[in-house]
């Protein structure tokens, strides 16, 4: 079983189907449909990689990213959003996001980003 991945997206259908596809590839996956729920799951949780949407009602993805990096700097965050400009990309990278993918993304690109994130998590 690979590392645990947390998918944070208010589009429940998307999050669940995407989770199923990652589970078929051997990952342990959980989903959260909002920022607050995600932060509760991250604090003290097992997730090492987060796949995070940017535009969500309530706490948006940028705020989630900011808080995650404060409470769990070891967690790698991959942004997966249908929205977003080059400016957003550079902003979230400065906040500590590891990769930035646009929805709908090719599963191969997501797996590649997850693999790179896993490599960064390995102790040297």
């Amino acid at each position: 079983m690979g590392v645990e991945i947390l998918i944070v997206d208010d589009e429940v259908e998307f999050a669940e189907t995407f989770a199923e596809r990652l589970q078929l590839r051997g990952f342990s996956v959980r989903t959260a449909c909002g920022g607050e729920e995600a932060l509760q799951m991250i604090e003290g949780g097992e997730a090492k990689i987060i796949v995070l949407d940017l535009k969500m009602p309530g706490m948006d993805g940028m705020e989630v990213l900011r808080r995650v990096k404060k409470i769990r700097p070891d967690v790698e965050v991959i942004i997966l959003s249908g929205h977003g400009s080059e400016m957003d990309e550079s902003y979230v990278r400065n906040l500590g996001a590891f990769a930035y993918l646009r929805k709908p993304a090719d599963i191969g690109d997501v797996l590649e980003a997850v693999k790179r994130a896993e490599n960064r998590l390995k102790p040297i």
Binding site: E11, E13, F14, T17, F18, E20, R21, L24, K55, G82, H83, S85, K103, P104, A105, I107
Partner: protein
Amino acid sequence: MKTNELAFFGKMAASVTHELKNVLAVINETNGLTADLLGMLKDAPFPYREKFERSVRKIEEQVHRGVEITSRFNSFAHSVDYPLADVDLNSIVAQTVSMAYRLAALRNVELRGAVRENPIMLFTSAFTAQMALTIVIEAFIKCMDGGSILIKVTDDPGVPGLEFDFESHSPEGVTKEAVVELEEWGDFQELASVLDIHPTWRTSDGGLTALSLAFNGVMK
């Protein structure tokens, strides 16, 4: 349109395209899951396997098409964010052609664009420029009975511009008079004066073969 109306249009259009991308993402993942399951059953006997696989491929292609269309429309919607900005004439043409392609196809006119490799920067309103070009396209397709329009980006010598090459299927071709009489042409001239665009016609045997638009300076 007034600035606040434009801003409202841009905001609403950007929000709708965002929603559409979410819809496409759900379709993409659901289709991907079907493909994954088909892949897992690749050695098991499966009736209509080929039909299922073909359907998956078709959905995938249409998702890509949908993403391209929504992305273009999203850029168009965001072009109102900055009333005046440095914009590449090549992008204006590429964007306009992709958005007006269907409009022309409905009149049996094939619309194509030819951009240059080097960026040709203008300090102008991308939204207004695209609107002006779409009006020109609309005026021409109304006078054509099928055929093609090729919009080429030019930069001779240092004056950025566009050249519209026409090929009409009707034997009499398109006449300058027919185009000028259209209401759309009046609308274009109004915008052309604001954008400082100067049109030049080229005709052969009374029929119109080309129209050049020189972007002489910055927007007034």
